[in-house]
């Protein structure tokens, strides 16, 4: 649990191009506290990405959801729409079960991406450039 927490924190700090010495210090700080207290790191420090940002003084508004899951999600919905349109406009090929399965799969994948990336934001380029 702690190892994964530190890895997620480190990823964000590296993206922010924080000095490796500072990153190491921040990770040791969390590790030392968790080992002393025996607490769950998320319970004590919050989500690693958010904590890493707070610790180095970056505003939460610099967080963005990565663009590619949104693109994949949009593309999947477009495929679903095209398939549905195709099924309706080709009278010889109408299979409602296939149609609903496609909608279900697209919905599940999109929701999965949304949930997975909700707590794994990236830092906006605006901040990285400054």
């Amino acid at each position: 649990m702690l190892k994964r927490y530190l890895a997620r924190m480190e990823r964000v700090l590296r993206r922010l191009r924080i000095d490796p010495q500072v990153i190491s210090d921040l990770l040791r700080e969390v590790s030392s506290h968790v080992q002393d207290s025996g607490d769950d790191p998320i319970e004590t420090f919050g989500e690693p990405e958010a904590y890493a940002l707070r610790r180095v003084g970056v505003a939460h508004s610099n967080l963005r959801t990565p663009w590619w899951p949104r693109l994949i999600s949009m593309w999947l919905w477009w495929v679903a729409f095209a398939t549905v349109a195709n099924l309706f406009w080709n009278p010889g090929y109408s299979n409602r079960l296939v149609l609903w399965n496609i909608i279900l799969v697209v919905g599940l994948v999109s929701s999965g991406l949304a949930i997975w990336f909700r707590n794994r934001p990236v830092i906006s380029h605006k901040h990285l450039e400054s």
Partner: protein, 114 residues
């Protein structure tokens, strides 16, 4: 009860810098020790996610200094101690807080100057 704790936590947020400086006035301490001391002092629980950014800010401002020391049986620990500047700031903040509390007590006791 929850409302009471919320209010206490709001107050503590505004005073955390002073409280943390206060825990360091006699000796160097590590983060978890500071958190425990604040809890034992009756100031409520201060989580690591709140405490360390404050310590970092105080360090950046030059009010505290830190160094890693090997733990006796546990992990290595980062000890914080007041710098000379920190001692001056703590004395000033303490005096300001005393003035504020005195005014507040007058208000609560209904002894407001008319």
């Amino acid at each position: 009860m929850a409302q009471h704790l919320d209010r206490r936590s709001q107050w503590l947020k505004g005073l955390l810098d002073l409280c943390v400086l206060g825990t360091l006035q006699h000796q160097a301490r590590y983060g978890y020790e500071i958190a425990q001391l604040l809890t034992e002092s009756g100031l409520g629980q201060v989580k690591g996610g709140t405490l360390y950014p404050v310590l970092g800010r105080l360090e950046e401002a030059g009010l505290v200094e830190s160094e890693w020391r090997p733990g006796d049986s546990g992990p290595n620990r980062k000890y914080y101690e007041l710098s000379q500047e920190g001692r001056v700031a703590f004395t000033e903040l303490g005096a300001q807080w005393q003035t504020f509390v005195t005014s507040l007590e007058l208000l609560i006791d209904g002894r407001v100057p008319t």
